[in-house]
């Protein structure tokens, strides 16, 4: 589990009064303003972010400490990270993608299958993309009670009971 999560990026300045243009990676884009002060990737600089208006491709925001267009322009490309604790708690059987990515997948017998590389949703439910151990390519596993009976975030592993033919494709 990561302690800081990338929730957006500064894409440049907006206007001439020191506002910045921010692209949100959140599920609900405007939620980028809800996670308190956001830090840069290295965690050295922290910005309080206030959304002023939606603009094409993101939001115009006011960042604490950024007063001029030049300062905002200099921040272009900076990613904004929120602390993991700032995300609200979820009900049972609901997980943040950030928590699932990186978990070790083991079979019901205890054999290690690989690691969760990404989480997708193509409209037919969530799919975990596994980078399989000792194989090239990845395998997709439906994120259902039947196929993924155990998700143990504390120990960083998930148990997978794959149906026949599910992991053959990689």
């Amino acid at each position: 589990m990561t302690d800081r999560i990338c929730v957006g990026a500064i894409t440049g300045s907006f206007g001439v009064k020191g506002e910045a243009r921010v692209k949100s990676f959140c599920a609900e884009p405007a939620a980028i303003g809800d996670y308190g002060p956001l830090t840069t990737k290295d965690g050295q600089t922290s910005y309080s972010l206030t959304i002023t208006r939606p603009v094409k491709g993101g939001f115009a925001v006011r960042l604490s400490g950024v007063k001029t267009k030049e300062q905002a322009d200099a921040l272009r490309g900076t990613t904004l990270h929120a602390p993991r604790e700032a995300l609200p708690a979820l009900p049972d059987d609901e997980f943040y993608h950030a928590d699932l990515i990186g978990l070790t997948a083991v079979e019901t017998g205890g054999e290690e299958l690989g690691q969760v590389h990404a989480v997708h949703n193509h409209g037919g439910g969530d799919l975990l993309e596994l980078r399989q151990k000792g194989r090239t390519g990845t395998a997709l596993v439906p994120f259902t009670q039947g196929i993924v009976p155990t998700v143990d975030l504390a120990s960083g592993r998930i148990v997978i009971d794959p149906p026949e033919g599910l992991l053959d494709d990689a």
Partner: protein, 92 residues
């Protein structure tokens, strides 16, 4: 132009055959199909199909609300890796 109602939904015959066989065997398996154009029928609900996207078979658990759609709609041919950010996954 939409398809005439009298024809019924289009399904490749081999998809029907494979689904029937899987249901009869009662085994928990992924039914690999290449037919993205076939319509999802009510008798497919509960089965897991591996729908080919040109590279690999994408597993699709068929649920009631998918009936009438095509298999290909659930197996995109392009991959996009976005940022995880605060996105959530629900275990059904």
């Amino acid at each position: 132009m939409s398809r005439s109602v009298w024809k019924g939904p289009f399904v490749d015959a081999f998809v029907l055959k494979k689904a029937e066989k899987a249901r009869e065997s009662g085994r928990n398996e992924v039914i690999k199909i290449w037919s993205r154009r076939s319509t999802i029928l009510p008798q497919f609900v509960g089965l897991t199909f591996g729908v080919y996207n040109g590279k690999k078979h994408i597993p699709v658990n068929i649920t009631e609300d998918m009936i009438g759609q095509k298999f290909g709609e659930y197996s995109p041919t392009r991959t996009y890796y976005g940022h995880a950010a605060d996105k959530k996954a629900k275990r059904k």
